[in-house]
Subunit: 460 residues, 2 copies
């Protein structure tokens, strides 16, 4: 009896050690396959160089959808479906431009061109542009203090990234409200246009676009972001109390909603086909670049997880859906649709994983799940150490899989290193050349490992 | 009594929590200061752009020594000393070049230039060059199998990086023996020169140099590394059984040993001035580039640790020596001297920290110390999580501080992310532009935090 008791105590540990070893070997195979394969390089190259920027409703978006169907099929999906949704259709409409005019110390009038990009969803100034004197504000408190001076002016929000915040997403989240509602807040006091310091911590002069949200009850005004050299130029003028007049020319317009699709590749589950695991990234991207890190890499990693599981002849117990989401950038309508359909059809979504933070070297994951599930997941941590993905944090998983919280789906987001993400985010620099392929692959290795473990052991 | 006993039990925990909080606040100050300061940017810019490559014995090395003295003084060292040592003095001597000649499928003779760099410490071919037919070998086993064919030939070692090894230093360490002794192993069988695939995992065509060590008893032959496009070209010829003749022109020569110096800045300890903590990087670098990541960043981070401790008015208990080591690349004579002097003078070196793995985003440290000390250090791990430096591993600390193992000094090396290090290592691409300043600073934050904790609590 004594020995039996001892054996009973030890048995789970022995099983667990054996599993750990099997899992370690399988994840090693995942890594060796992904790191030796050219598939993800080729996929990212095609998506960025042959298709390019692919904003919702653009011709490139439709080409990307077709490409996604083929890529998922080639990677080995049992089936690929298109899930239709309606998406906002904003177009830039022309070449954004702006300049300022001021008198230099000798009283001579100077004209200086700014490097700008209209914010997504913003209205255009039209060909005649908006011309008005420019007023600098440092934050919303400053805006309120200057509210009586704003009428007829162009407001310039100069809110720098907080470089002392180590996670650059925290700096981004602190400031993104200016991009989101800054135009309407200024329009309320009569401002006629808005320009802002780009949401970036990199020097250089690339403007960074991104979504704006007008308040319906307030007059809509044109809005644009500028590069940081231009911000320095403006600062030097304002710091010397020089009067600055700005002219802004943007052409954005919101067309009627149009059709788009989530592209869903599936591996059917062998034991619990009714239980669904989701892996995804978003297929759309802002127009000024190639959407390489945002979110070409997430899309390619998603396809890579599928490819490697098939390549290693892995038979999933649960159904795995590989989702290329539509319209993350200016509406998240694809994600909403995916969650709505799941709810309507009473689908069981047992786990969802998103990659939408760039193709940089991985650090780990953000988990949005219960403490009990987190405890289970934490036991897998040692398996991720060899692949630099062992930093398991609690937090938001991602903008797209987030909608599955309505179904109580435990979820995770890949966390790549974030130090350089806002150098390229929504800017012309988000191109293939600024993705390190090996680092992107290493992210895919960690994603595939997590999906494998969730599928093999479940989360209950 | 009962309460007293309980208090006694709880007390250390309370103290510890309070300390943890103080430490967390102080490290936060370290981070805010380093991330907001331009000092490290300016230092790295000067060292790389105004001085540049600084191989032992070169004029740039002497300029770097003078610069280092000033930089340590400006950062606030109580005193700066020059510790003299004799270093090897290898010079490249000219512009390395090589080409191959072969007959194409139409029987027409073709000439193709290779992009090469002579290996450090290698002898030159002289102006007439070495011309001979080229023989490809894949590894030392292959060399032995072909030993009877080597006489009079130029050997071409084609040993690729193992991309499936996640830590790229493991791939490097697996292959570095070919650079180290490949020439002598081939010369033993009569080879007249050696060319090798560069020690890198990046495509592109930059050759990567580095140290070679001749076996004294064997005839010395010229040796060079080539870029990976050229390797592909050679492979395509060899794979088609095409006879290739190579011509190699190198001009390297070893001059008599010359004088160099470790540059040592010091902060005197207030409680245990006789106990020394060392922080260091190496000042020398290979000649083809600017030694930006190898090891400009380690040097600049070392100075930054000093600067921030002074800026925050931190009074160290122990003496901290900030050491810019001489001659890491082709002799480690500076490090040997530093350890020799320490031993001779019966100095107590209680801890040493090195940064010599690039300025990439930090992951943590390699610790070379006892289990007891490791346990103590592991308790500090939570303090490093906010700064992405919490990955504490056991392993070698670094080539320079390694010599302090003779004094049983516990030691550590900063581990930045390693995925991209061998893209630029010892190649013309190791320039300022390929350092991310924010990532380098974040490395310095973690180094300063570790030095602060070791100084405050000791390791015993």
């Amino acid at each position: 009896m004594k020995n039996f008791f001892l054996a009973a105590l030890l048995f789970p540990v022995i099983i667990s050690a054996q599993n750990m070893n099997d899992d370690s070997l399988f994840i090693h195979k995942i890594a060796a396959d992904i790191l030796s394969s050219n598939a993800s390089y080729n996929n990212l190259h095609y998506l960025t160089k042959n298709i390019g920027g692919r904003l919702s409703g653009s011709p490139q978006m439709y080409r990307a959808e077709q490409w996604g169907i083929n890529a998922l099929k080639e990677a080995g999906a049992d089936n690929v479906t298109m899930q239709q949704c309606m998406v906002p259709h904003w177009v830039r409409g022309g070449q954004d431009k702006a300049f300022i005019v001021y008198n230099d110390e000798k009283g001579k009038q100077q004209k200086y061109w700014l490097n700008i990009l209209a914010l997504g969803n913003s209205i255009g100034s039209g060909a005649n542009g908006v011309q008005a004197s420019l007023i600098r504000v440092n934050n919303f408190d400053d805006l309120e203090a200057k509210k009586n001076e704003l009428k007829g002016k162009i407001i310039f929000y100069n809110v720098p990234f907080d470089d002392t915040l180590i996670n650059t997403f925290n700096a981004y989240e602190k400031n993104v409200v200016y991009r989101g509602i800054g135009a309407s807040r200024a329009a309320k006091y009569g401002a006629v246009a808005m320009m802002m310091r780009s949401m970036t911590n990199t020097p250089g002069n690339y403007p960074h676009t991104g979504s704006l949200h007008y308040t319906d009850s307030i007059n809509k005004i044109p809005a644009a972001a500028m590069g940081l050299y231009d911000v320095q130029k403006l600062d030097s003028l304002f710091d010397n109390n020089i009067t600055v007049t700005a002219s802004l020319f943007t052409y954005g317009m919101m067309l009627p909603d149009t059709i788009a699709h989530n592209i869903i590749g599936e591996l059917k589950g062998s034991e619990h086909p009714e239980q669904i695991i989701t892996v995804g990234g978003h297929l759309d991207s802002w127009d000024p670049a190639e959407g390489a890190n945002d979110d070409g890499t997430g899309v390619v990693q998603t396809i890579e997880v599928l490819r490697v599981l098939k390549a290693l002849n892995y038979q999933p117990k649960h159904t795995i859906q590989f989702v290329l989401f539509a319209n993350e950038e200016n509406g998240t309508r694809g994600a909403k649709k995916y969650a709505e359909e799941a709810k309507k059809n009473n689908e069981q979504h047992i786990f969802a994983l998103e990659s939408d933070a760039g193709g940089f070297t991985p650090r780990g994951f953000s988990f949005d799940c219960s403490d009990t599930i987190m405890q289970k997941i934490n036991a897998w941590k040692p398996l991720f150490i060899p692949y630099y993905g062992e930093r398991f944090e609690r937090g938001e998983a991602g903008a797209d899989v987030g909608y599955l919280k309505g179904l109580n789906t435990p979820q995770a987001g890949l966390n790549p290193d974030n130090q350089r993400y806002f150098y390229i985010h929504h800017a012309a620099t988000d191109v293939f050349e600024n993705v390190d392929i090996r680092e992107m692959k290493l992210g895919a290795v960690n994603m595939a490992a997590l999906i494998y473990l969730v599928d093999k052991y479940g989360l209950q």
